[in-house]
Amino acid sequence: SQTIHQWPATLVQPVGSPLSLECTVEGTSNPNLYWYRQAAGRGLQLLFYSVGIGQISSEVPQNLSASRPQDRQFILSSKKLLLSDSGFYLCAWSNRRTSLWGNTEAFFGQGTRLTVV
């Protein structure tokens, strides 16, 4: 069965420090991968999505970047964190094959709560 791992669960970082959040998927190949951010009590904002290794689409201009060095690995990074980067970050995957027909059910990790102080 497919599983998605996202870590760490919580993170407290000082302003100006770097960030690296990692997400890996097991049990499937060639998935679509997503990074979302959720502000407290709010909806999910799509930050990045990827349909293949090295293929990253950015949805909003921001202080963050994403990379996909391997098929099932998606990394969210920042060189210098801002206070406004605080939030709940969620990684998700969907099956590329079924997404061609629009059956894009997404499977989420448990999230990383980032607090920038």
Partner: protein, 113 residues
């Protein structure tokens, strides 16, 4: 940017009552999905309805889709305390963005005993 807007933002009902949540979206879609999120956790997929479908059922869930009004509703019948969570709609576009899943703002449902 948010594609969907859920209404109401918050809903409080008693156990056994039905809960109805609505979602409106802006652009043409291939399908619309509903997800549930328990506090501080990841989202769990509930149900998917395609643009050529008007109604779909799954257990105590009933979803309708009106593409002419660009809206959908999620009905949870005979609600239980365990249904307490936030519920989000999400859309997949139909114009070459089949991989892009965009979420709405969510409805917080509180079911009391």
């Amino acid at each position: 940017s948010q594609q969907g807007e859920e209404d109401p933002q918050a809903l409080s009902i008693q156990e056994g009552e039905n809960a109805t949540m609505n979602c409106s979206y802006k652009t043409s879609i291939n399908n619309l999905q509903w997800y549930r999120q328990n506090s501080g956790r990841g989202l769990v997929h509930l149900i998917l309805i395609r643009s050529n479908e008007r109604e779909k059922h799954s257990g105590r869930l009933r979803v309708t889709l009106d593409t002419s009004k660009k809206s959908s509703s999620l009905l949870i019948t005979a609600s239980r305390a365990a249904d307490t969570a936030s519920y989000f709609c999400a859309t997949v576009g139909d114009t070459g963005t089949a991989s892009k899943l965009t979420f709405g703002t969510g409805t917080r449902l509180q079911v009391t005993l």
